[in-house]
């Protein structure tokens, strides 16, 4: 029997970027907030320290900061007519666990979507005609515009101390920045981080082809910086250990460093860790949630926490699962196209390559994931798709992200992978190669979705989320086009040798690709096309707000976190300025 606790103003489920931003904004508005996090507390003073972090085996290989799959995972299949099987250890994507969530171990590439991305269906219809969009491509416009989100992008930039070079400041183009970006109201808080030799060669080659290279924007401060919460960030040390680990320099943004210190001293905020939320308690008649049920993983005790307002800010899978389990909104059915919960699961379609420069010294162990240059000439609607046979695109970049010795080595094809001659090949090539990536969009497809698995359960007895996902013909065509353009730049760099890699036909759950999972609780203009309205308020439960990339209608050609943070501030503003004064639907269906 669950112990019923005293009602609280607001409960926030999941302490990643969205959850901490909402917690902060709600306490500022005077609410008493309980933050529930199923994983451990991760306090930088304990965990983000040297020498502990310089351990590739612990963090990168054994995934210290990632979700414990023995407690919870998902099942996966490529198509609706196949049997799904559990992902026994995450591979393709790596959701985090504990305070900070996936915001600790991310690579901190910090992008905004294009203004045209937010109205992609309309733009494609206007430019190429409604018939040009395949029936199975279930894309839709965002119910919010770039201009509306811009001030919130700016707030998130400042929270994170983002480093970059503006390309469009209030409509004025600035040389050296991304000329395709939406107008920014302010410069990046910090100057662009340094660049490596490989990315510098890429930049010159791209320019020679008439493209527009610029430094990749990163949520890693290039200099000491005080964010608007009064927290002092350090400067990047270019340690090369960023990905899958934390930052001891307090340069790479994380909820733990950039926001949690304020919440930890906030009397209106209470953090409960190892609190596994099993269920939203839903009053269907009243169209509201009355609270949440959770298990204290330290004692096994069950609790019911009544709340006036619930913010659901776990990962894409958890958000979708909670709504499906509680019966909030209609579950999506790919056969009929009806229903919305679980619909439009999307991902990032990345392909890449490497170039080898015999005899050059790139010192690849010095770096940061965003220490690179990119071109945005083939993203979204930055280029004409007439006659190409696909929609979408992505940025193309060359980065020096660090080269940890277990996983960060790469050899030309034909060199031995072991045995006689292998070490000589490593010694020859390890320090003289550079890498490329294309950050391809994924435009939603009718058959890519999430529902509840009929067979497999988590450690608390709940059905796992079942992911049905595969690459589409559009994805492959789009990606091959990007790879071709990338190859053109690589050739112009004149390497000794290079390789490019198109993606295999089927999406596979191993190896790692990106943690850019999106969709499942998409936002839209009415309950027929979405789970949440433009303020991330659930149509069928007005006091429930869903945060995170699960609200994206589709995934564009950029890393998702910048937009995720902007949406959190946008949603928080609607709650504190409007909803709290008169609780009820913010948009009338």
């Amino acid at each position: 029997m669950a112990t019923k606790l005293k009602e609280i103003d607001a409960v926030v489920i999941g302490m990643g970027f969205s959850g901490t931003i909402l917690s902060r904004e709600l306490t500022k508005a005077g609410l008493n907030v309980v933050g529930l996090e199923r994983g451990a507390d991760r306090n930088p003073a304990d965990e983000f320290t040297l020498t502990r972090l310089r351990d590739e085996l612990r963090y990168v290989q054994r995934l210290e900061l990632m979700q414990d799959n023995s407690t919870d995972t998902i099942t996966f299949r490529n198509a609706p007519d196949e049997g799904a099987l559990p992902v026994r250890r995450f591979g393709a994507f790596l959701p985090g666990e504990g305070v900070g969530g996936t915001g600790i171990h991310w690579g901190a590439l910090h992008w905004r979507f294009l203004p045209t991305d937010f109205r992609i269906k309309s733009v494609l219809t206007e430019k190429y005609g409604a018939k040009s969009i395949p029936d199975a491509m279930t894309i839709q416009d965002w119910p919010v515009s770039y201009d509306e989100l811009e001030p919130h992008y700016d707030r998130f930039d400042k929270l994170c101390g983002v480093s970059g070079q503006a390309g469009n400041l209030r409509g004025k183009l600035i040389a050296g920045g991304n000329p395709f970006e939406g107008p920014r109201s302010e410069h990046y808080p910090n100057k662009a981080i340094k660049t490596g030799v490989g990315p510098a060669i890429f930049s010159e080659a791209a320019k020679s082809l008439g493209y527009h290279p610029f430094p990749v924007p990163v949520a890693t401060s290039s200099a000491a910086y005080v964010n608007p919460e009064g927290i002092t960030l350090g400067a990047c040390e270019y340690c090369g250990h960023c990905n899958r680990t934390a930052c001891e320099a307090n340069a790479k943004a994380s909820p733990n460093v950039n926001m949690m210190p304020v919440l930890r001293t906030e009397p209106k905020f209470e953090l409960r860790t190892r609190a596994f939320v099993t269920r939203l308690i839903y009053d269907k008649q009243a169209k509201r949630v009355t609270g949440v049920a959770y298990t204290d993983m330290r004692t096994g005790e069950d609790y019911e926490q009544p709340a006036g307002l619930v913010v659901l800010s776990s990962f894409v899978f958890g958000n979708t699962q909670q709504l499906l389990l509680a019966g909030i909104g209609e579950a999506y059915d790919p056969r009929t196209g009806k229903g919305v919960v679980g619909k439009n699961y999307c991902y990032q379609f990345e392909a890449g390559g490497e170039a080898f420069f015999e005899g050059r010294e790139f010192n690849p162990f010095m770096g940061a994931p965003g220490m690179g240059t990119a071109i945005d000439d083939f993203n979204g609607e930055n280029f004409d798709h007439s006659g190409l046979g696909f929609f979408g695109g992505g940025y193309i970049n060359c980065a020096q992200g660090g080269a940890p010795p277990i996983g960060g080595r790469t050899l030309p094809k034909g060199e031995p992978r072991w045995g006689v001659g292998w070490k000589q090949a490593e010694a020859k090539w390890y320090r003289s190669n550079t890498r490329f990536n294309t950050q391809g969009s994924v435009y939603a497809h009718r058959d890519n979705f999430m529902d509840l698995d009929p067979t497999y359960k988590d450690a608390l007895g709940r059905p796992l989320v079942r992911l049905t996902y595969n690459a589409t013909e559009n994805d492959h065509k789009m990606s091959r086009y990007l790879v071709e353009k990338m190859e053109g730049v690589i050739k112009a760099m004149k390497p000794t040798h290079y390789e490019v890699h198109n993606r295999p036909k089927n999406f596979t759950i191993v190896p790692y690709q990106s943690t850019h999972c999106t969709g499942g609780t998409m936002m839209g203009t009415d309950p027929g096309n979405s789970v949440v309205n433009r303020y991330l308020q659930v149509w069928d439960a007005h006091n429930l707000f869903v945060q995170g990339a699960s609200v994206f209608p589709q995934q564009h050609g950029y890393n998702p976190t910048g937009t995720l943070g902007a949406l959190a501030y946008w949603s928080a503003r609607a709650i504190t300025d409007t909803y709290l004064k008169s609780p009820g639907p913010l948009v009338h269906a």
Partner: protein, 241 residues
């Protein structure tokens, strides 16, 4: 290693005794030290501190030692895999929480999936390697005149691993190709992980690459070393402890 220079029986006995001696708190028998050193020695000097295996059986340890020495042969760039501690690393990893299947979803039903669905066996990494070694030895016995993998001449060991890598070795009820991938992966991890885990002894792996290890604070070095090799005597976590 010449084919029959070390009587296997003696090696197994020695390694087994070493484990027992440690467990019982006894001094390591001289014979075990000698045989272990002999087994590990190739062109490189014997490892200064021959550590006992705590997870692998003597038979498994012999397989792993032979495998890592074939994947990472001694040459002018480094001692052999086992002399760099890679076999000990694997022994410790398989005995760790990871080796026991920590953070891994292990509920059934267990079904054979498509390759796209990833690992679907009930086995923990430790169990997986045990089953893989058994299957590999059964295959080499069938293919190479009754010999376990560690008893093969160096050229045959290479041929055997190649056959596994290319999926040409037909193990009974076990994927040779997948096993090779795991074996190769954990061997590379052992050669390149921080030496605190038992492998990469004397930072041998890092020296091959020119990887400087810790502390990795380069803000003042990126520009100073543009197109110029940054050379540092690599340092490990233990060097700062």
């Amino acid at each position: 290693m010449p084919d029959d220079s070390v009587p296997r029986r003696q090696f197994l006995l020695g390694a087994g005794l070493a484990g027992t001696a440690i467990a019982a708190g006894l001094a390591e028998p001289v014979e075990a030290q000698q045989t272990a050193a002999a087994a590990g020695a190739a062109a490189a000097p014997a490892a200064p501190d021959a550590e006992p295996f705590v997870t692998l059986s003597a038979l498994e340890a012999a397989f792993i030692t032979a495998a890592v020495d074939t994947l990472i042969p001694a040459d002018e760039l480094s001692p052999s895999g086992s002399d760099c501690g890679v076999a000990i690393f694997i022994d410790r990893q398989l005995g760790s929480a990871w080796g026991g299947g920590a953070k891994m979803y292990r509920a059934g039903p267990f079904r054979k999936g498509k390759p796209e669905q990833g690992y679907q066996l009930a086995l923990s990494p430790r169990e997986y390697f045990a089953a893989g070694i058994t299957a590999a030895n059964a295959w080499t016995r069938k293919t190479f005149a009754g010999k376990d993998f560690d008893r093969l001449a160096p050229a045959d060991r290479v041929a055997a691993l190649k056959a596994m890598e290319e999926g040409k070795a037909e193990f009974e009820n076990f994927s040779a190709r997948a096993f090779f991938a795991q074996l190769h992966g954990i061997t590379m991890a052992g050669f390149f992980a921080d030496p605190i885990y038992g492998g990469n002894r004397n930072k041998a792996g890092w020296k091959v690459l020119g990887f400087p290890g810790l502390p990795a604070t380069y803000a003042d070095k990126i520009d100073a070393y543009r197109d110029k090799r940054y050379v540092a005597d690599p340092q490990s976590i233990a060097d700062f402890s």
